[in-house]
């Protein structure tokens, strides 16, 4: 089933050049992470007084959730190796050939972690980031470097990391409060 979906989606590669061009950008290691990071960067300044403080907590939760999502994915990758779909299927690659485990998708984990941390406080921006993360995952399947279940697994890791970091920083609120107070005194927060 997983392989059939990859073969069906990847079968469309080459049919429509503009679609492939968009997929090449979306699938890259840079587009979604940098877009998401720029959203976190903008949130640091956005708002006023207590609202800005809450936005800065989102930035802290978002950045740390990406770190946790990466670490969990690396741990699972190290324990469980799943070959990439292009090794077991005849596919047209739109991406380079990654050598690490296919499951879970690190890209999906990072994208969904960022989106979850933002969605907790900013529904519309968070929903846009979820859409971007989902498109990133879909593009990776289309490009032939992930199975759909890799993306679903990565999404689960990312959402869990985003929620965990949001809850953790709420519990440890004194820590970011102290850091932000110091930064406020020199007009950096």
């Amino acid at each position: 089933m997983d392989g059939a979906i990859v073969r069906w989606l990847n079968g469309g590669v080459g049919a429509l050049a503009p679609l492939d061009a968009v997929a090449r950008v979306l699938v890259s290691d840079f587009f979604v992470p940098v877009t998401g990071s720029l959203v976190l960067f903008g949130l640091w300044l956005h708002g006023r007084g207590p609202e800005r403080f809450r936005n800065q907590l989102v930035t802290i939760a978002g950045a740390s959730s990406v770190g946790v999502a990466n670490a969990v994915t690396a741990l699972v990758n190290a324990q469980f190796f799943r070959p990439r779909p292009f090794l077991d299927n005849e596919l047209t690659l739109l991406f380079y050939e990654p050598t690490d485990s296919s499951f879970p998708s690190n890209a999906a984990a990072v994208g969904f972690a960022l989106a979850t941390a933002v969605f907790v406080r900013h529904r519309r921006t968070g929903a846009a980031l979820y859409a971007l993360a989902a498109l990133w995952g879909l593009a990776r399947v289309y490009a032939g470097v992930h199975y759909p279940t890799d993306v679903i697994g990565g999404a689960v890791v990312g959402i869990a990391a985003g929620l965990a970091m949001t809850l953790l920083w709420r519990r440890l609120i004194a820590v970011p409060r102290a850091i932000l107070r110091v930064m406020s005194s020199i007009y950096l927060a």
């Binding site: 090449r24 950008v25 699938v27 890259s28 290691d29 840079f30 587009f31 992470p33 940098v34 990071s37 720029l38 960067f41 903008g42 300044l45 956005h46 708002g47 006023r48 007084g49 800005r52 990466n70 739109l94 991406f95 380079y96 050939e97 990654p98 050598t99 690190n106 990072v110 932000l180 107070r181 930064m183 406020s184 005194s185 020199i186 007009y187 950096l188 927060a189």
Partner: protein, 145 residues
């Protein structure tokens, strides 16, 4: 190993995008002290959005970006590191540049000695970063005396 030109392209892209995001958010949040074009916040917002879009178009349109980190691409850690460098650069250029450009503005600002917490970025609605820092250090010096 990533090539120097790839790192330079990535860093320049993030730097320009971060600069644009900083100006866009500062314009929308009323942080006049962080604007290069303080009198034209609306124009700043449009120009900043254009800068972000243009930097994305340049990065992805100027070469092959899907390269393995084992050859000449960037792995996650290196990418995060250079993102931090570029974003810090954008912050430094903005804070110092706007302080220089708007150096005559916000001269009357004095920190409130009775405030329970530091005012932080809100101060930059009324003055520049350099003036705010100077006023805060002056207040600290007079309190020590």
């Amino acid at each position: 190993m990533p090539t120097d030109s790839f790192i330079a392209d990535y860093t320049l892209w993030v730097f320009l995008s971060a600069l644009g995001v900083l100006q866009l958010v500062a314009a929308r949040s009323g942080l006049s002290g962080l604007l290069f074009l303080r009198r034209w916040p609306r124009a700043t917002a449009y120009a900043s959005a254009a800068l972000v879009a243009a930097s994305f178009a340049w990065f992805f349109g100027s070469g092959v970006r899907n390269l393995p980190d084992t050859v000449s691409g960037l792995d996650g850690v290196t990418q995060s590191l250079w993102f931090a460098v570029a974003a810090t650069g954008a912050v430094a250029v903005t804070f110092l540049g706007t302080s220089a450009i708007n150096h005559r503005w916000g001269a009357g600002y004095r920190p409130d000695p009775a405030a329970p917490a530091p005012a932080g970025l809100d101060v930059l609605e009324r003055t520049t970063f350099a003036r705010a820092l100077w006023a805060a250090s002056a207040a600290l010096r007079s309190r020590r005396r």
